[in-house]
């Protein structure tokens, strides 16, 4: 065990001894080492001004991804490579093609969001030339600009490839360097809070058995995966977390296993890493995941975290519940498997014991007679939190509905099925009339709340209408989607 965090920065190993476990990467960059190019716009992962690129060793190559530095805890960088806007400067001091392109297209006005855009574009640049319009919009959805209206920045996303397609980094050096700082045992940090004088501890186990042991020994610990939620406990609520167990280095939790009739997704798998596979099985689910947060958030956040935090407005639980997914939890040596819908007991209350952790979620593969549709309603199309999220799994036998699983987010204190609507339709012909009856029955399933995202009336009306939308899509070729993307994001 060692209390030293090591990562690559500008080609050198950067070492930090016993840092505050919940210090954010952004604050470290700006206030400790004076790399002030990276900006703070919101400190909650919603504006992208703090975007940096992190490289992770994946076999014999390095995978580079844009992330939000404002909600990343510094020790989670251990074993990775970090690139900030300052890293892009060429040896001669000139601008990188990404930067040059933004200058040429007049992609900056006030300039405050610009370094974040540079880094999101840089991550896109590393994917190679000719990105589609959808891909560009998706790569930039997590970066807000209040001045330009985005047009010039989109132009830069094309122009950058014309300016220098041969600027891709040679990965061999990076792979070797990352191999050199790879850790094969738990990173443990103990530090003293400057504010309270209390001890703050951080564990980053690298295998699931150690995780199980550490979790059992520290039942009050906070589990940290992508930090897209926990990060805000620190930056917004100013909570002091005494013990943090980081799941992102646990090899087994990052595995995706495919069986004949299901896929098993480890709790540490990011949205990004799960998206392609799930989109292949269920295109709607893929698009639903694509609309969770932004590229940066999906590069950090995990499906396991989206479930484990128990939020009533997480977007994957409705889809997973509609699909009949199961959840595997582990405590010590014991594993148990439950229906995902049973995990959510009440607001803020889940079926998880102290010291127990979510190990994986099992998603059934599509059945021949079953159709799946999911929808997300929010004020803004991209990078918003759902007012209502709906997922429908409908099995037909001839014209008759054999099985129906309708699950909603944003309609109750937990992600919840519309039992009345389901039973109104099961055993009946799949007709507009019967769907309308099911929509009426849904009024008895939910008593949604009014909040800043939507009124209870809108929630109910749109939740009912979404069932009609699914019906129309499954039974006719009428267009019902405004922004039907030409393709699923090609991750």
């Amino acid at each position: 065990m060692s209390g030293t965090v090591r990562f690559l920065l500008d080609g050198r190993v950067h070492e930090i001894h016993s840092p505050d476990p919940t210090a954010t990467l952004l604050n470290y960059l700006r206030y400790d080492i004076a790399r002030t190019g990276t900006k703070e716009g919101c400190a909650e992962g919603d504006c992208g001004a703090c975007t940096v690129v992190v490289g992770e060793l994946k076999g014999d190559r390095v995978e580079y991804k844009a992330v939000n530095a404002c909600i990343i805890f510094l020790p989670t960088l251990d074993g990775k490579e970090l690139l900030t806007v300052e890293s892009l400067k060429s040896k001669s001091g000139g601008l990188h093609p990404v930067q040059e392109a933004l200058v040429e297209t007049h992609g900056s006005q006030c300039g405050f969001c610009t370094p974040g855009f540079v880094m999101s574009l840089y991550a896109l640049y590393l994917e190679g030339p000719n990105p589609t319009k959808d891909r560009i919009e998706d790569a930039l959805a997590g970066n807000l600009c209040r001045c330009t209206g985005y047009g010039p920045i989109i132009d830069a996303a094309h122009r950058m490839f014309e300016l220098g397609a041969d600027e891709l980094p040679d990965m061999r050096e990076q792979v070797a360097a990352l191999e050199g700082i790879k850790r094969d045992d738990t990173l443990y940090i103990s530090a003293t809070s400057k504010l309270t004088g209390n001890e703050k501890r951080y564990f980053a186990p690298v295998n699931v058995d150690t995780l199980a042991a550490v979790a059992e020994q520290n039942p009050d610990a906070t589990f940290l995966a992508g930090g897209t939620d926990v990060g805000l406990w620190v930056t917004k609520m100013h909570k002091e977390l005494a013990t943090v167990i980081y799941l992102g280095d646990v090899a087994e939790l990052k595995e995706i296993t495919e069986t004949a009739d299901s896929v098993e997704i480890g709790a540490g798998v990011t949205y990004t890493d799960a998206m392609e596979l799930l989109a292949g099985l269920y295109p709607d689910f893929g698009e639903l995941i694509r609309r969770i947060g932004s590229t940066q958030i999906r590069n950090s956040g995990t499906i396991g975290g989206n479930i484990a935090n128990g939020s009533p407005i997480g977007d994957t639980p409705p889809a997973l519940i509609a699909l009949g997914a199961k959840l595997v939890l582990r405590k010590g040596h014991e594993e148990r498997t439950i229906d995902l819908e049973d995990f959510f007991i009440d607001y803020g209350k889940q079926d998880r014991a102290a010291g127990e952790f979510v190990a994986k979620v099992i998603v059934p593969k599509p059945a021949a007679d079953t159709a799946f549709r999911s929808y997300k309603l929010s004020k803004r199309f991209d990078q918003d939190i759902s007012a209502v999220c709906a997922a429908f799994s409908i099995a037909l036998e001839g014209e008759t509905v054999k099985e129906a699983r309708f699950a909603y987010g944003g309609m109750a204190a937990t992600p919840k099925r519309a039992a009345n609507a389901e039973s109104a339709l099961v055993g009946k012909a799949f007709t507009e009339e019967n769907v309308e009856a099911a929509m009426e029955a849904m009024a008895n399933d939910f008593s949604p709340l009014t909040d800043m995202r939507a009124s209870k009336d809108y929630r109910m009306l749109s939740a009912q209408n979404l069932l009609m939308k699914a019906f129309v899509e499954l039974t006719s070729d009428a267009d019902t989607r405004l922004a039907l993307r030409q393709e699923m994001a090609n991750v």
């Binding site: 700006r30 002030t36 190019g37 990276t38 900006k39 504006c47 900030t84 806007v85 300052e86 601008l95 990404v98 930067q99 933004l102 200058v103 007049h106 900056s108 006030c110 300039g111 405050f112 610009t114 370094p115 540079v118 919009e137 998706d138 930039l140 959805a141 807000l144 600009c145 209040r146 001045c147 209206g149 985005y150 047009g151 010039p152 920045i153 989109i154 504010l195 917004k236 100013h238 929808y375 309603l377 929010s378 004020k379 803004r380 199309f381 991209d382 990078q383 939190i385 909040d451 009124s455 809108y458 009306l461 979404l466 009609m468 939308k469 009428a478 267009d479 019902t480 989607r481 405004l482």
Partner: protein, 772 residues
């Protein structure tokens, strides 16, 4: 002798030139205030806010706060040596509450500590008790108890009431227009450093350094010359950094002077959104009379706004809503009533358009409604009602419209965008599409340029030429991304006929140019460009005098061209002349000054000429809505906008596109929600949704009006461009109204407020269905 053309210098006026800081923006080396290396011993400040919307503080025990670890000083109203006020003029914005609190977020005390974490932790130890009073949070609640920040105003011409009674047709309607948060990416920030004699130097992210200077001095109880305010650039302003920065500059200055340590006060995004004012939301209602062609024969307009807890700039903002209640349309018999309500919410303030957008969208809605009533294309009704030339050309405030190009712009745009053909196609599409509906609308913009408070229309500049021929440029304008510094540098480069790279753009500071106005009202380049031109011309005249004498040459035989000076048959480099002028003991430094001519306004009668000129533009937007969910999308927008003879076309196009998208956000996704207690629930980008990349219309065509030329003698005949494009987004809202109307076969009036969120659209669709 060669005779090179005037345009050979780099960065001449009317030419595309990139933003002067573009290469620094992309490299991360452009310095914003929080990027400045923190001085040794610096304190961090945190502001504690009222948790009640309207209450008397009965007890505020700060002993534990003062005793907390790392705390250097705790400030309350009692610690203010001067005046406890940071208002722009009305005297009703206390820096710290003196007991009465009138909105959730009002500063009650502030803590400066060794670290921000310590300051925040310490502030939480305060024991504050409140005696709550009844609160009135919105227009309706304030209206019910007649709570106002000033008397209601009336602007009128002709006889509206009589004309209405005599009108062939009559229609009434009303709708609500939501507010908007600025969401500048860089939040409010000030860094105050104590100087000798109790003076203070403040880096402040502000559009109005002179006012911040004045108010900091006022709070400290010192003369203005004890305070220096400096700002190189802001990370966005949009009006939100006009009056509010004084609050944060004053708090940090007070702590800096008391502790004799530098103090930084940087607001977290959530605190910024809770503590600082926004665009006013409006309730708009009308009673219009019109003939069978749709010509307006009489109209009464009533506007009510939520001003928040104090006066701030609300009188002028609401005045501007009245000034733009006509937009491009002649209203022969009109009465515009404006009510300015005081509410127990944050004091609303300047925001791009300054009330103009709220006034303008109202009349556009009237036109849409009238057109639907008589079954005409709204474009035809718009054309019919436009101001005439030489007749039908007097505004409700008595100013003649003398530069009207609205008709020509509308006609051109309708043509190039194929508006009429597409309108027919959309109607056909809607007839065949059950769930998805399209809408289209074309709307014009006419926006008046000048501060309507006449004395603010002045500016100063300071130009030095060093002996080596390099130029130092300073003026009272501030850079917030709009490219002002670039444009003014072009003006100076053009005048001296030197490459713009030889002109050093420097931070705005009250120590170089005094008594400046805010960089606001789109006036930045009009005012500061002229002031800098004045300074440059003065120096140039001295150089000519010197050269004429030294080379015994008539002055009119001396010309500056392309980095050179031609003195009859002699040619020398610009820097050779400046070297000689230095040795010849010539002053190569000058101030410059400008005041806008022709303007005069009597606020009591609301008559006069408040504006030097008008800017024009028009937009066509096509949208699609989903009638099952209310989701909506802008499919295409075409814009034709005039910027006079543009000083820098590429920068102006950037302003047009950015302004349009920001306006689109105001009218679609950006919704401010206060709960019943008065707490803002949308105080971060997680809950407050400004447009993202994919919200941009799939197709967006923007053209500058190539015939543009200001009829008034503005700087190189250009026009202002900051605010006018914002209102091009009215086309988006009207297109959404059109799409919703299709559900009732264009026969049922549409009840839809702004912003047109999915919820608002779905509820409007449901309402139309019910009444169809």
């Amino acid at each position: 002798m060669s005779n090179p053309s005037l345009s050979e210098i780099k960065g001449a006026v009317h030419k595309d030139l990139r933003h002067d800081s573009a290469h620094k923006h992309v490299a991360g080396t452009a310095v914003y205030i929080d990027d400045v290396a923190e001085p040794k011993n610096m304190l961090h400040m945190y502001v504690a806010m009222s948790e009640k919307a309207h209450a008397e503080i009965t007890e505020m025990d700060l002993s534990a706060v003062r005793a907390a670890q790392g705390v250097a000083v705790v400030l309350t109203a009692d610690d203010i040596p001067g005046h406890n006020d940071v208002s722009p003029f009305a005297g009703d914005d206390p820096l710290f509450s003196t007991g009465l609190v009138e909105y959730i977020g009002q500063p009650i005390f502030a803590v400066a500590a060794n670290s921000l974490e310590e300051a925040i932790a310490a502030a939480k130890l305060a024991k504050v008790s409140y005696d709550e009073k009844p609160h009135y949070l919105n227009i309706d609640e304030a209206e019910a108890v007649d709570l106002k920040i000033e008397d209601s105003q009336l602007m009128a011409q002709g006889e509206a009431e009589k004309a209405l009674s005599a009108s062939k047709n009559r229609l009434q309607g009303s709708f609500y227009i939501g507010g908007q948060d600025h969401f500048y990416l860089e939040g409010q920030i000030a860094l105050a450093t104590p100087q000798e004699d109790g003076d203070v130097h403040v880096l402040s992210s502000t559009q109005h350094p002179s006012e911040v200077q004045h108010l900091v001095a006022h709070v400290l109880g010192r003369p203005t010359n004890a305070v220096t305010i400096e700002v190189r650039r802001m990370g966005g302003g949009f009006g939100g950094k006009e009056t509010h920065p004084a609050m944060f500059a004053a708090m940090s200055s007070l702590a800096a002077v008391k502790t004799q340590r530098p103090v930084k006060l940087r607001l977290d995004r959530d605190d910024d959104m809770v503590m600082t004012g926004k665009r006013h939301d409006f309730k708009y209602s009308y009673d219009v009379g019109y003939d069978d062609d749709g010509q307006i024969t009489g109209i009464e307009i009533e506007m009510a706004s939520r001003c928040g807890r104090s006066t701030d700039l609300s009188p002028a903002i609401n005045d501007r809503a009245m000034f733009h209640a006509d937009n491009c349309y002649f209203l022969s018999d009109v009465a515009i009533k404006s009510h300015r309500y005081k509410t127990h919410t944050v004091s609303n303030t300047a925001f791009r358009g300054f009330g103009g957008p709220q006034g303008m969208i109202g009349i556009e809605r009237v036109i849409e409604d009238v057109a639907r009533e008589i079954g005409k294309d709204p474009l035809d009704v718009r054309m019919l009602n436009l101001y005439g030339e030489g007749e039908r050309d007097t505004t409700p405030y008595g100013m003649k419209v003398e530069d009207n190009v609205a008709a020509e712009i509308m006609e051109t745009l309708a043509e190039t965008s194929e508006y009429r053909k597409r309108r027919d196609e959309i109607r056909a599409f809607n007839a065949n599409s059950k769930y998805l509906k399209k809408g289209i609308s074309i709307t014009p913009v006419k926006f008046g340029i000048s501060f309507t408070t006449t004395h603010l229309n002045q500016a100063g500049a300071l130009v030095h030429i060093y002996a080596d021929g390099s130029v130092h440029l300073n003026h009272g304008g501030t850079e917030m991304g709009q490219g002002l510094f670039t444009k003014v540098a072009q003006v100076v480069a053009e005048e001296f006929q030197i490459d713009v790279t030889r002109v050093k753009i420097t931070a705005t500071t009250t120590a170089k140019v005094p008594n400046t106005s805010a960089t606001a009202a789109s006036s930045g380049s009009d005012l500061n460009g002229m002031a800098a031109l004045d300074a440059a011309r003065k120096i140039k005249a001295r150089l000519i005098d010197f050269a004429a004498e030294k080379y015994s040459c008539p002055k009119d035989r001396i010309t500056f061209r392309n980095n050179k000076v031609y003195i009859e048959n002699k040619e020398m480099a610009f820097n050779e002349l400046t070297q000689e002028a230095y040795l010849g003991r010539v002053s190569m430094s000058s101030t410059g000054f400008y005041k806008t001519p022709k303007i005069k306004y009597d606020r009591a009668s609301h008559k006069g000429r408040p504006f030097y000129y008008f800017c024009y533009g028009a937009a066509v937007s096509e949208v699609m809505i989903d009638t099952l969910t209310g989701e909506n999308k802008v499919l295409r927008t075409d814009i034709l906008h005039e910027a006079g003879r543009s000083l820098n076309p590429v920068i102006d196009i950037g302003q047009i596109e950015g302004g349009f998208i920001q306006g689109m956000g105001w009218l679609t996704t950006e919704e401010l929600v206060f709960d019943d207690a008065g707490r803002l629930r949308t105080h971060a980008p997680s809950t407050y949704k400004v447009p993202a990349c994919s919200d941009r219309p799939d197709e967006l065509n923007i053209e500058l009006w190539n015939k543009g030329r200001n009829v008034e003698a503005t700087i190189h005949r250009s026009k202002a461009v900051g605010e006018p494009p914002f209102m091009l987004a009215n086309a988006v809202f009207m297109a959404l109204v059109d799409a919703v109307a299709s559900v009732g076969d264009y026969k049922v009036p549409v009840k839809m407020d702004a912003p047109a969120t999915p919820e608002e659209v779905l509820m409007a669709v449901a309402d139309v269905k019910k009444r169809a």
